[in-house]
Structure formats: structure tokens, C-alpha cells
């Protein structure tokens, strides 16, 4: 039931306090960049969805539409939701569009 002094003194000397103190002001440093789980769909999101579906889109095209994996389905939903042109296109047209990217 003792509390060592040495470590805490070192901790104080390495100055965590100003850092902690500055946080009270509620700074938002760092929030300007990087991935966020909120916000609208970006072109990099599009790229990721399409890239992830590429293998399954190839299987779909190669099998005349018989093989439809989950990531292809997810990509079809994504494309139809974000692109008015895609909403009217067939699954095969969209799968080919994914391969063409």
C-alpha cells in the first residue's frame, strides 16, 4: 500500500500536463483529414467498393450471371444508390462496368 514517488516525478518532468491541459479547450486538431465513418460517399469509397467486387464481377460475367457473390451484390447496390445512370442499368452492364474500371 505504498505509492512510489520516482515514477510520478518522472511523469511530471516529462510534462504530460500541458498536453492534457490543452485538451480542455476542445481542440479538433487532426479532424480535418483521414478516414471518417461519417460524411457522404466519396470517390475513394466508390473505388473501394468497386475494387473489392472485381473478382466476383469477373465470375459473374464469365458465368453469364450465374455466380453472384456478396461483394458484387454490395457493389451493385452501392452503384445504383449513388449513380442515376446505374439505377437503370442491368446487373450484367454494371458488372462489365466494374471490370472496365
Amino acid at each position: 500500500m505504498i505509492r512510489p514517488l520516482l515514477f510520478c516525478t518522472l511523469l511530471a518532468a516529462s510534462a504530460p500536463l500541458p498536453l492534457l491541459a490543452s485538451s480542455f479547450a476542445g481542440t479538433t486538431a487532426g479532424s480535418a483529414s483521414g478516414a471518417s465513418s461519417q460524411g457522404s460517399s466519396s470517390s475513394s469509397d466508390d473505388d473501394k467498393v468497386v475494387q473489392a467486387a472485381r473478382g466476383e464481377a469477373a465470375g459473374f460475367v464469365a458465368s453469364d450471371g450465374k455466380l453472384r457473390g456478396a461483394r458484387l451484390q454490395a457493389a451493385l447496390l452501392h452503384l445504383r444508390q449513388h449513380d442515376a445512370g446505374a439505377a437503370a442499368a442491368s446487373d450484367m452492364e454494371l458488372a462489365r462496368a466494374i471490370l472496365a474500371r
Partner: protein, 577 residues
């Protein structure tokens, strides 16, 4: 001012209900100035105590003892608190954790904990929240405000109480413990810092040394699934792997069942990922020593590795969790992500045990009911607890709950090519593992459909060739290959820096990373990503050079075939019919 302020505070406390905690200062050995400083310090400490303790009618005696060893700030025994006189020379520092006040609070915490009505540090719930959630030492060594907390549960109780009472950000940095203290002792008399909801996590990127900072907003997590990888075919027969899948909704989508198909945004929490199981990247597996920590991976990457490289199924079992339970789970996952020391290796701790433990901590910290030593065992516990359905969920791909091994797809595609007389009539595995020239000659005028089929199959063949090369390199490492060994040592040293996400941050912060720490983290990530890429490249080249010539040529040929097919497929798909 100090003395009168203290007197006023003491009077105030003594009045009211007539019950109040009394801190009796023994003035022996203190000059008048020191006495005033001591009284002031005690008053400041007392003011920081939770109301329940301030109103407690017991008394503790305190004296400042110059005979305490030089490295000891305070000591408690049977309600008698001894403190180092050095504490009196320390000026109070704003509102945050100052050592003098913290020491007094620390010793008061011990006195209450050991006294009548105490025993908080012996509660299993507390012990598990504080990191004693397994046999052996407390492994939550990183991003600790004070490493002394890992000495024992009693010290953890006292150290964390200091921070709970003195640091308004404690509830953001250690939310689970803060909630526990609040429930046990009442609120800390502190201004409450506003916490951001987003939990920063490092997610594995596409490149070798690449990690991306993601701010995971718990409100965007619609559900959590228990994700099980099947044990694969006989040749790769394994134990299976247990993970947790976070069903994160796409930006702009209102959380609901439709989030299930936002696969690109889903994340997987995987303990000891890919150590002796699937390698996150086939070539990355060369380094062998993946650290034991909580990995966060994009679901897409996990599906790709399991279903298309390992040819194993993935089944998701949705868990019946409330949103409060999901929040608790995410907070504990973030704690494990940032604080769990990857250098610890626990024999007998596998992905199943760790996943079950995390769920237990989040759902029923008082008891262990979800821990088992196999992935299936944990599933059975989840089912028995009513958290998972007994029947396997839908296998239809549009439900996003089952991701089938690509074997059947590959078989059909190969069959099509064989029917067309394009490839020799070999069974799938034999074809995939044959040298390039035996897989068939690529006709220059191949139409789109067979091009797409062949591209899928050649990609699979290349991956398997890489796995074989990797296995061979592992065997050769023991016997020479000095350049590779040097590069490997260099890479291991470098990637050791990634053992724990916390190693990328300055030492000052503790617990869950706060917004003001993120700028430094992003800079460190960018720097390490660049450096890592160069080292990875060097290692990769050394690895290829260490391969027997025939195997090197084989890999190169397979890559050229994949490239040619990919380019042709893109061109044909873009052309109008």
C-alpha cells in the same frame, strides 16, 4: 488566503449533516509554513473526493514523514497515512492530476478500500475492467497513465481513482472504468469534459506497412456479428478462426438492416490475427511474428483472404446486442487496441478465448460465460446465452451473412474453359498448382467471358504459387540465404514498431486516443508508411532472389499471365458489344 480558505472549507464540511470525513493532520516536524501548506493540500484533496466519501464520518490521521524512502510518495496502514514532505514543495498545477494532491487521494483510496464497507479492489468486476481478466500479469501495459497501476488490483483502484477524481478527460480515455467508479462512488466533483463519440482505430491498409486511421462512430455500428472461418479443406485443415464483425453503416445511411450490405464499411476485430492461421498477406506472413494484439481489418480484405485464397467459408452469426452493449463492446475493443501489450504472448490464448473474453467483459463483467477454447465452443456459449441463433443464418449471398469459399466458383469457371478446349482437363487443385505452361496457352483473341474466367483462375493460381514460395523460403531461412536474413531482421525490427498502435503516439496520453492526439498520430502513420514501403520492397526483392531460379521464373510467368488477362478483360469489358 490558503489557510482561511481551508478553515472555511473545513467548517463547511463539518456543518451540514454533522457527518464529514476528517483528515487529521499531525503537525509534528512541520514548520508553520509547512503546516499551512499541508492544511491547504489536504483541503484541496478533500474537495476532490466524491460526495459520498466527503460525508463519511470516519477520520484518518496524516503525517508528513521525512523517514519515508526517497522513492515513496505516500504509504497507508490502518487508517494512518504517511506522506513525503517533498509533496509540500510542489506547487499546485491547475485542475489536472498534480502529484501532491494525487498522492493524498491515492492513500485515502487505500484507506477506504481496506476499511469498513470497502473492498472495491477485490470485486471481480473491477479486477476484470482494470485488466486482470486472465491468469498472469495484467497485459494492458500501453497507454497507461501510471504503470504502478499494474502492480496489483489495490494499486489499480487507487491510481485510477486519482485520475477519475482529477482528470476531467478520464471518462473519455477510460470510459468503462469511469462508469464503474461513478456507479460505485458517485460522480467526481469535476467539470465533465465532453467526449467525442468517435473511437480512433488503426485499420490495416492495402500495402504491407500501411495502416489507416479511422474514427469509428459507435452510432454508425448497426450490429455486431460473431464471424467464423471454416476450417478449410483437408490440405489446409485447421482449427477455424473466430472474429467479430462490426456492421458499420455506409455514410448517410440510417442505421438499419440495409447496413448489412454496406460491406465496404464493415470492419473485423481479430485477435492474434493470422499468426499461425491465415496470413493477412501471403508475403507478409514471411515475417512470421505477428504480434498478439487486436487487429482491425476491413471486412473486404478478410473475405478476400479466406474465401479466395484459403478457399474457406465465412459465416456470420448476428449477436442480439442492445446499442448500449455495442457501445460497451466497442469501448473495450478500443482499449484492447490501444493498451494491450502485443509483446505479451499467452500460451493457450487464442482467437476464440480472446473474442469470448471481450464479449464477456462488455456484456457480463461479473462472470465468465462466453469463454471457450475453440471458435465453435464460443459459438455454442453464445447460443446457450441466447445471444446467437441456434440455426445457421441464411447462406444467400444477398443477405451478407455467408461468404462461400470460392472453390465451387473456380470449379465452374475451369469447367467452362475446359469445355471450350482452352485448358487441359485437370481437376481444379491440380490445375491451379500446375506450372503456367501446363495451365494452357492464352489465345491472343480470347473473348470476354473466357478472359474473365481465366483471369479469376490465374489470380488464384498465382496466390497459391506465392504461398508455396513462402513455405519454401521459411524452410530455407534456416539454411543460409544471408541477404534475406538481414532484410528480414531489418523488417522485423521495423515492423516491431507496429506491434502496438500505441507505439506511434507520444508517451503523454493514456487510454483511448483523444482528438488532440490525432494530428501527431497521422504524421507518424504517414512517416512509417513511407519508410515501411521501402523496407518492404527491399525484403520482397531479397525474398525473390533467395528462391530457386525455376520457382522465381514460375512466379514471374504467373504474374505476366495475370497482367495480360487483366488488361484484356478491362479492354473488352469497356468495348461495346
Amino acid at each position: 488566503m490558503r489557510l482561511s480558505a481551508w478553515l472555511a472549507a473545513a467548517l463547511l464540511l463539518a456543518s451540514g449533516s454533522g457527518h464529514a470525513l476528517e483528515l487529521r493532520l499531525d503537525p509534528a516536524g512541520l514548520n508553520p509554513l509547512q503546516q499551512r501548506q499541508a492544511s491547504d493540500l489536504l483541503a484541496r484533496a478533500q474537495a476532490a473526493l466524491p460526495e459520498r466519501w466527503r460525508a463519511d464520518p470516519r477520520h484518518f490521521s496524516l503525517h508528513f514523514d521525512p523517514r519515508l524512502p526517497a522513492d515513496v510518495a505516500g504509504r497507508h496502514r490502518h487508517g494512518d497515512l504517511r506522506l513525503s514532505p517533498q509533496l509540500l514543495q510542489m506547487a499546485p498545477v491547475g485542475e489536472t492530476h498534480d502529484l501532491a494532491r494525487a498522492t493524498v487521494l491515492h492513500e485515502i483510496a487505500h484507506a477506504f478500500d481496506r476499511g469498513e464497507g470497502g473492498g472495491w479492489s477485490r470485486q471481480p468486476h473491477f479486477r476484470r475492467l482494470a485488466g486482470w481478466d486472465r491468469r498472469g500479469p495484467n497485459p494492458y501495459a500501453l497507454r497507461s497513465p501510471d504503470d504502478y497501476e499494474r502492480h496489483s488490483p489495490a494499486e489499480a483502484f487507487a491510481v485510477n481513482l486519482e485520475w477519475y477524481l482529477l482528470d476531467p478527460q478520464y471518462r473519455c480515455r477510460r470510459p468503462a472504468l469511469a462508469a464503474w467508479y461513478r456507479q460505485q462512488l458517485g460522480p467526481a466533483p469535476l467539470p465533465e469534459a465532453a467526449c467525442t463519440d468517435a473511437l480512433p482505430l488503426l485499420v490495416a491498409g492495402a500495402g504491407a506497412a500501411q495502416m489507416e486511421l479511422e474514427r469509428l462512430d459507435p452510432a454508425r455500428v448497426y450490429a455486431v456479428d460473431y464471424l467464423l472461418a471454416g476450417s478449410g479443406d483437408a490440405a489446409m485443415s485447421r482449427f477455424g478462426h473466430a472474429m467479430l464483425r462490426l456492421v458499420v453503416c455506409a455514410p448517410g445511411r440510417i442505421p438499419g438492416p440495409r447496413c448489412r450490405m454496406d460491406l465496404a464499411y464493415h470492419r473485423v476485430l481479430s485477435f492474434r490475427a493470422f499468426v499461425n492461421d491465415v496470413q493477412i498477406s501471403n508475403w507478409r506472413g514471411l515475417t512470421g511474428a505477428y504480434p498478439a494484439r487486436l487487429f482491425v481489418l476491413p471486412l473486404d480484405q478478410v473475405i478476400e483472404e479466406y474465401t479466395r485464397t484459403e478457399l474457406r467459408d465465412l459465416q456470420a452469426w448476428p449477436l442480439a446486442l442492445s446499442s448500449a452493449q455495442i457501445d460497451a463492446l466497442l469501448q473495450l475493443a478500443a482499449r484492447a487496441h490501444w493498451s494491450y501489450d502485443g509483446r505479451y504472448r499467452f500460451i493457450g490464448n487464442n482467437c476464440a478465448v480472446e473474442s469470448g473474453r471481450l464479449l464477456d467483459l462488455a456484456l457480463t463483467p461479473q462472470q465468465r460465460r462466453l469463454q471457450a477454447i475453440t471458435p465453435r465452443g464460443v459459438l455454442h456459449r453464445l447460443q446457450a446465452a441466447g445471444l446467437a441463433e441456434v440455426q445457421p443464418p441464411s447462406a444467400r449471398s444477398e443477405e451478407g451473412l455467408y461468404f462461400a469459399s470460392a472453390r465451387e466458383d473456380y470449379r465452374q469457371l475451369l469447367h467452362g474453359l475446359q469445355q471450350a478446349g482452352l485448358t487441359p482437363p485437370l481437376p481444379l487443385e491440380r490445375w491451379l498448382d500446375s506450372p503456367a505452361r501446363q495451365r494452357g496457352t492464352l489465345p491472343p483473341d480470347l473473348p470476354l467471358q473466357p478472359t474473365a474466367a481465366w483471369w479469376v483462375l490465374e489470380t488464384a493460381a498465382l496466390r497459391r504459387a506465392e504461398l508455396r514460395a513462402l513455405a519454401q523460403l521459411k524452410r530455407r531461412l534456416g539454411q543460409g540465404a544471408p541477404e534475406l536474413q538481414t532484410r528480414l531482421a531489418d523488417w522485423q525490427h521495423f515492423s516491431g514498431l507496429f506491434d502496438a498502435p500505441a507505439s506511434l503516439l507520444p508517451a503523454a496520453g493514456y487510454g483511448i486516443v483523444q482528438p488532440e492526439e490525432l494530428a501527431a498520430l497521422e504524421q507518424a502513420l504517414a512517416r512509417h508508411g513511407e519508410e515501411g514501403q521501402a523496407r518492404w520492397q527491399a525484403l520482397h526483392e531479397a525474398a525473390e532472389r533467395a528462391l530457386p531460379r525455376a520457382q522465381r521464373l514460375e512466379l514471374e510467368q504467373a504474374r505476366q499471365r495475370v497482367q495480360w488477362l487483366a488488361a484484356r478483360m478491362r479492354r473488352l469489358a469497356a468495348a461495346a458489344d
